[in-house]
C-alpha cells in the first residue's frame, strides 16, 4: 500500500502501525473510512472522539475482535511489531503481546477477582511461578484488588472492575495494551488514579498503550500523542501539547476556546460539546 508510513529510520521504534484501514460491519455499514495511526514503542497514544466516531472499532480491528461482531477490515493493513496481523486470531495476537481491555471492562462476573486475573495468563507457557510473580506485581499496582481478590467480580465497584480488567490484561505479559474508555462511568478522582497507574506501568515496564477516550482532558494530560477521530476519519493528530494548544480542540473537545467556529466538518457537532465536557 502506498500510504503515509513514517520515515523508515524511525520505523524500528514503531510497535503498532495502522495504515489506512477501512472497516465494514455486516457487509454494508462502512464505519472506518481510511484510518492511519502509529504507536511508538513505549508510547501512550490516545484516540479521541465523540460517541460513534469509530474508536472502539479501530481498537477491535487491531485486536481482531471485530469478527465476533461481524465486522471486517476491507482495506489497508495493520502491523504489530512489523508483522501483518490481519490473519491472526485474538489468541495468537495475545501470545504476541497485544491485548485489549474492552470498553465497559467486561470482567467475568461469576469469577473471583483473582480468578479473573488468572484468566489473563491463559496463553502463557512460562509456568506457575512466573504467573504468581506477575499476580503479585498486579497487586502491587492495584492494592485494592488484593483486598477484594476473593470477591465475585460482578459484585465489585466500577473502579475495581476497571482495575481488574487492566490487571487481567497485564497478566498476559503484554508489550501493547489497547485500552478502551477506561474513564467511562467513573468518578473524576478515580479516573485520575487509574491514569496515574497506567502512566506508572508505562514508565516501569515499558508497555505501550493505545487508548480510546471521550474524556479529552484527561487523555491529553497523559498521552504523548493523540489522534482525533470524527465519523470514521482522523481529522487531526499531534503531540499531546500540540492538541491541547490547538484552537479547534480547545473549542470542541476541551471546551475552552472561542465561539465562532463550530466543527472540523459540520456545524451540528456543537451539540456534542456538552457530552465531552460532562
Amino acid at each position: 500500500m502506498a500510504d503515509k508510513t513514517p520515515d523508515s529510520q524511525i520505523q524500528n521504534d514503531i510497535i503498532l502501525s495502522v495504515n489506512n484501514i477501512e472497516v465494514i460491519y455486516d457487509h454494508v455499514i462502512l464505519v472506518l473510512k481510511g484510518v492511519s495511526l502509529h504507536v511508538p514503542k513505549g508510547g501512550i497514544v490516545a484516540i479521541l472522539g465523540a460517541n460513534g466516531a469509530g474508536k472502539t472499532t479501530t481498537l477491535k480491528a487491531i485486536s481482531n475482535l471485530l469478527h465476533a461482531e461481524r465486522g471486517e477490515v476491507t482495506k489497508g493493513s495493520i502491523e504489530f511489531r512489523g508483522e501483518e496481523v490481519q490473519s491472526l486470531s485474538p489468541n495468537e495476537l495475545v501470545r504476541r503481546g497485544c491485548i485489549q481491555v474492552m470498553e465497559g471492562r467486561h470482567c467475568f462476573g461469576h469469577l473471583s477477582i483473582e480468578e479473573n486475573l488468572l484468566t489473563g495468563a491463559f496463553t502463557r507457557k512460562d509456568g506457575n511461578a512466573a504467573i504468581k510473580k506477575d499476580l503479585e506485581m498486579v497487586y502491587q499496582y492495584f492494592p485494592r484488588l488484593r483486598e477484594r481478590k476473593g470477591s465475585q467480580a460482578g459484585y465489585t465497584s466500577g473502579g475495581e472492575q476497571q482495575m481488574c480488567a487492566i490487571g487481567r490484561a497485564l497478566m498476559s505479559k503484554p508489550s501493547m495494551i489497547l485500552l478502551d474508555e477506561p474513564s467511562m462511568g467513573l468518578a473524576p478522582q478515580l479516573v485520575e488514579e487509574i491514569f496515574d497507574i497506567v502512566k506508572q506501568l508505562n514508565v516501569d515496564t515499558g508497555v505501550s498503550f493505545l487508548l480510546a477516550e471521550q474524556n479529552t482532558n484527561i487523555a491529553l494530560k497523559y498521552a504523548t500523542y493523540g489522534y482525533i477521530l470524527e465519523s470514521g476519519r482522523v481529522v487531526l493528530d499531534g503531540t499531546g501539547d500540540e492538541l491541547r494548544e490547538n484552537a479547534d480542540v480547545k473549542e470542541f473537545y476541551l471546551g475552552t476556546g472561542g465561539e465562532e467556529r463550530r466543527s472540523f466538518r459540520t456545524v451540528k457537532h456543537y451539540k456534542r460539546r456538552k457530552r465531552w465536557l460532562a
Binding site: A68, N91, V94, H106, H110, E115, T119, G120, S172
Partner: protein
C-alpha cells in the same frame, strides 16, 4: 368422594402401611434420576460454554455405549474398549467443533439447534450402519462393575438394592465431584467458566473458543459414555434410550439450563417424582404415567418459574 379418597388418602395410607416398599420405590426413582441428571449435566456443560442447545446429547449416550459394546464384541479387551470409546468421543468433539460449530459461529441460536438436530440424525444413521440397529447387552461384568443385589431388612420387609445401581450412584457422585474440581481449580476449567460468563471478554484475553468448545463437547461426551454404561447395565443398549434421554429436557426446565446443581436436583426430583406418582397415583390415569409425568411437571414449572429452580443468578450491580 371415591376420587378424593384415592388422591388424598389411599396413597398415603399405602405408604405408611408398607414403608419398605416406599423406600424401594424412592430408591428406584433415585437411580433413574441419577441417570437423568447425568444426561442433563452433559447438556448444561455445552449450553453454558457455547450457548448451543445440544439436542444430540441423548444420542451421544447411545452412540458411545454402542461403540463400547461393539468394540468389545469385535474382540477388543474391555478396558481398551473403554479407552477407545473415550477416544471416539474425543474425535467426535473435535470434528463437531471443526465442521459444525466453527462454521456456524455468530449464527442465530435456532440455526445451531437445527445443526444439533442434524447431528442427531447423522449419529443415529451412522450408529445403525456401523453397530446395527438391534439392542445389545452392556458388558457389565467385563468392565468390573458389580452385579447381584443386597437385601436390606427393614420395617418387617425387605428393600432390594441392585449393586449396579449403587455403583451408578457412586460413580455419578465421583464424576460430579471431579468436574467440580476441574472447573474450580484448573486453568482450562477457569477458562471454561470465563467463556460461559462472557464470550467476548474471553476472546479478548486470548482464550481460544475453538479449544474450549472442543473440550466441553469432549467432557460431555465422557459424561455421555458413563451414562450409557450405567443405563445399559440396568436394561440394555439400544436406540430406544434416546427417547428416555428427552426427559433430560424436562430436567433442564426444572433445574435451569445453566446450573449444574440444578441439573442434578432436577434429575433426582423427576426420577423420584415419576416413580412415586406411577406407583401410588398411576391407577387413576391408567398406566404409562412415567412416559409423561416429567413433561407435565416441566410445563407447570414453565408457567410458574420459567428460570428453573437454580437458574443462574444474573448479577446486577447497583
Amino acid at each position: 368422594m371415591e376420587l378424593l379418597n384415592s388422591i388424598f388418602v389411599a396413597p398415603f395410607v399405602d405408604m405408611a402401611a408398607y414403608p419398605d416398599f416406599l423406600i424401594q420405590v424412592i430408591w428406584e426413582g433415585f437411580v433413574a434420576g441419577v441417570l437423568y441428571s447425568l444426561i442433563a449435566l452433559g447438556f448444561v456443560l455445552i449450553y453454558k460454554a457455547s450457548g448451543v442447545f445440544n439436542f444430540a446429547q441423548g444420542i451421544m449416550v447411545v452412540f458411545s455405549a454402542l461403540a463400547l459394546v461393539s468394540l468389545h464384541e469385535a474382540g477388543v479387551p474391555a478396558w481398551l474398549a473403554v479407552v477407545l470409546a473415550i477416544g471416539i468421543m474425543g474425535v467426535l468433539a473435535v470434528s463437531i467443533e471443526r465442521l459444525v460449530l466453527r462454521k456456524l459461529v455468530n449464527q442465530h441460536d435456532a440455526i445451531l439447534l437445527m445443526a444439533t438436530i442434524g447431528l442427531t440424525l447423522i449419529l443415529k444413521g451412522v450408529g445403525e450402519l456401523i453397530f446395527g440397529g438391534e439392542p445389545k447387552p452392556m458388558i457389565t461384568e467385563q468392565l468390573g462393575l458389580p452385579t447381584g443385589s443386597t437385601d436390606w431388612e427393614v420395617f418387617d420387609g425387605i428393600v432390594i438394592f441392585q449393586h449396579i445401581d449403587i455403583a451408578a450412584a457412586v460413580i455419578a457422585v465421583l464424576m460430579v465431584m471431579a468436574l467440580g474440581v476441574f472447573f474450580s481449580k484448573t486453568r482450562i476449567g477457569r477458562a471454561l467458566r470465563a467463556v460461559a460468563d462472557d464470550h467476548q471478554a474471553a476472546l479478548s484475553v486470548g482464550i481460544s473458543l475453538h479449544q474450549i468448545w472442543a473440550i466441553v463437547w469432549f467432557a460431555s461426551g465422557i459424561v455421555a459414555l458413563v451414562t450409557g454404561i450405567m443405563w445399559g447395565a440396568r436394561s440394555e443398549v439400544s436406540f430406544a434410550l434416546e427417547i428416555i434421554a428427552l426427559k433430560a429436557l424436562a430436567v433442564l426446565i426444572l433445574g435451569g439450563f445453566t446450573s449444574i446443581p440444578g441439573a442434578i436436583v432436577g434429575g433426582l426430583l423427576i426420577g423420584i417424582g415419576e416413580k412415586l406418582f406411577e406407583v401410588y397415583w398411576g391407577a387413576l390415569f391408567g398406566s404409562g404415567v412415567e412416559a409423561w409425568f416429567a413433561y407435565v411437571l416441566a410445563l407447570i414449572f414453565l408457567l410458574f418459574r420459567p428460570q428453573g429452580l437454580f437458574g443462574e443468578r444474573i448479577i446486577e450491580r447497583v
